[in-house]
């Protein structure tokens, strides 16, 4: 007993205390060090925090390098999966495309109608100058939210032009130099944009909050706080600088009740701007003269044509659906008929066999009856040279009632 306890202690001591060859620390020492590391880390001991930061930096960078091959394998695997799913994806896309084509036509109709009515109320703006520019400097200062573009008066940039990223408004030009220009972002405190809030079509002035978003000012006494859905903020077109309907941002209804100022979450992240569009808008000045009337007529014709096309597509889709259903029904009917034919053929064969059997039996009975009556006239005996019983000649003779 004493011996085995000694062995246990020696083994433990050897495992935990003894330093191996090329080992600088004993296992127990490192275990204690880990525990101390854990405890000091938990109580936010400063030197440990610095070590933690350093280890994290090294670990993140090393992981980025080490995980390179794994990423390549992952990309390869995704590519293979994409190839395997290609056909089903293609089928889904085809269905979606059918639907989208119909939707696109609806969209075209609505756009044309919109243009038509805007022209009627003389509120149709067209882009008369569109310049693409690169953002040179976007360093934010605490006092000014602006970016500098690489295009200036040399490229027809003018003060007050709207600046868009994609279809989203991001600001307006406030300073024009020969080669460069400065854009005041809509998130700047000094930016005041007339906006329209959907779905209630409330008019307001939007001002930047000096950071990433904006707040609404002067909502004309309308109380938006009772609203319980998200609202979309677009330019109202008041003042004639911007056309109406350019997307800006949205107001989350969850934030409406919690804050006093109505916060607009701008769609675009200003720190990610690279290329922008500088645009100016002019009103299409046309009275309702003969030319514009003709134009309206052409537009009506276009709307009609688009409606017809939409209807045709709808009909075609319906027809396709019906044809598909008919095909399925025919297939089902076909298989049912095949099954019926097979059953009938089986029955017919059985009936024919039964008839044949009956016929044979009848013939046998007839032969036996005649055999009783006329058998002696055909049977071979020692006194005559007639037929042997069982031969076809004998049977023929019996059936002919002994007349040969």
């Amino acid at each position: 007993m004493e011996q085995s306890r000694d062995d246990f202690v020696i083994a433990i001591r050897s495992a935990f205390l003894k330093k191996g060859t090329q080992q600088r620390f004993s296992l127990l020492g490192l275990i204690f060090f880990s525990i101390i590391f854990l405890i000091l880390g938990e109580i936010n001991f400063k030197p440990i925090n610095y070590i933690k930061i350093a280890i994290k930096e090294i670990a993140y960078r090393s992981t980025f390098i080490v995980s390179g091959p794994e990423k390549i394998i992952g990309i390869g695997f995704n590519k293979i999966t994409d190839h395997i799913n290609h056909y089903s994806n293609y089928k889904n896309m085809e269905e979606k495309l059918d639907k989208l084509e119909a939707l696109d036509l609806s969209n075209q109709i609505i756009t044309l109608e919109n243009i038509k009515y805007k022209k009627l109320v003389d509120d149709y703006f067209i882009k008369n100058n569109e310049i693409f520019a690169k953002v040179l400097i976007d360093k934010n200062s605490p006092f000014l939210r602006s970016v500098v573009l690489n295009k200036g008066s040399k490229n027809n940039i003018k003060l007050g032009m709207a600046v868009l990223d994609g279809e989203y408004l991001i600001g307006k030009v406030v300073e024009v130099n020969f080669f460069t220009s400065r854009v005041l972002l809509i998130s700047d405190i000094n930016s005041k944009i007339p906006v329209s809030i959907s779905p209630n079509d409330v008019q307001a002035i939007m001002s930047g909050d000096g950071k990433q978003n904006a707040t609404l000012q002067y909502t004309q006494g309308t109380d938006l706080k009772n609203n319980n859905e998200d609202m979309m903020v677009t330019t109202s077109g008041a003042g004639g600088l911007f056309k109406s309907g350019i997307l800006i941002g949205k107001i989350n209804f969850t934030e409406i009740s919690t804050t006093n100022n109505l916060k607009v979450n701008i769609y675009k992240d200003f720190s990610q701007l690279k290329y922008v569009k500088v645009i100016s808008f002019t009103k299409e000045e046309k009275a309702l003269d003969q030319t514009s009337k003709d134009e309206l007529k052409t537009m009506d014709a276009q709307i009609l044509e688009a409606t017809k096309q939409k209807e045709n597509i709808r009909i075609l889709l319906e027809e396709k659906k019906i044809a598909e259903e008919v095909r399925k029904n025919i297939e089902i009917e076909n298989s049912q008929l095949k099954r019926k034919i097979f059953n009938l053929q089986t029955k017919l064969t059985k009936t024919e066999e039964a008839v044949e059997e009956q016929k044979k039996q009848k013939e046998n009975i007839e032969f036996l009856e005649l055999n009783l009556l006329y058998g002696h006239k055909c049977r071979k005996t020692i006194f005559n040279k007639l037929y042997k019983v069982g031969t076809p000649e004998y049977k023929k003779c019996v059936l002919q009632k002994g007349k040969m």
Partner: protein, 173 residues
């Protein structure tokens, strides 16, 4: 001459192979702790450490285990030092088994590995839940332990094969 140099590189690679594998596994998803399959995960690092401490103790240094543990904690997001502690404890248990074993037996090693896993996971549970107030899914923890235990045999054969493959270079040393 070139052949000699090549042999030398392979010999060095063989020497540090378990350590390289350990660091790669803790820095990648290769530790199989979260393979994205429901009810399937295992801890490759535990198998690697246990096997090599048992079979070739000099392959994994204590300090490298400690550092690998720190890296694991940073990547997984555990309190720093906990994986080091668990790796070193695992190493300690394996060393103890090595010291008391006269005739190595795979089944005995395997069962001792289960015992070690249970102790280590209990330590991990106590530290994480009672001290650092982490939430641990018991089902996943048990599944992880069971699969780690099960796969020990499988990886033992693989490591054994690799060791035999490199044995020529080892003898050349």
């Amino acid at each position: 001459m070139g052949n000699l140099r090549n042999n030398n590189i392979i010999r060095i690679f063989f020497e540090y192979f378990p350590m390289i594998l350990l660091f790669v596994s803790v820095m990648n998803d290769l530790d199989f702790n979260d393979v994205g399959i429901k009810y399937f995960s295992f801890n490759f690092s535990y198998i690697l450490i246990f096997y090599y401490t048992l079979k070739r103790k000099e392959a994994l240094g204590y300090v490298s285990l400690f550092i690998a543990g720190l890296f694991n904690d940073v990547i997984v997001g555990l309190p720093m030092g906990i994986s080091s502690l668990l790796f070193l404890l695992l190493c300690g248990f394996a060393s103890y088994l090595r010291n008391i074993t006269l005739r190595p037996n795979l089944v005995k090693d395997w069962l001792f590995f289960l015992f070690t896993l249970l102790i280590i996971n209990s330590f991990s549970y106590i530290f994480l839940v009672f001290i650092f107030e982490y939430d641990i899914d018991h089902t996943n923890s048990i599944i992880n332990t069971l699969f780690t235990f099960t796969f020990y045999i499988f990886f033992t054969y693989i490591f054994h094969f690799i060791e035999n493959f490199f044995v020529g270079y080892r003898n050349a040393e």
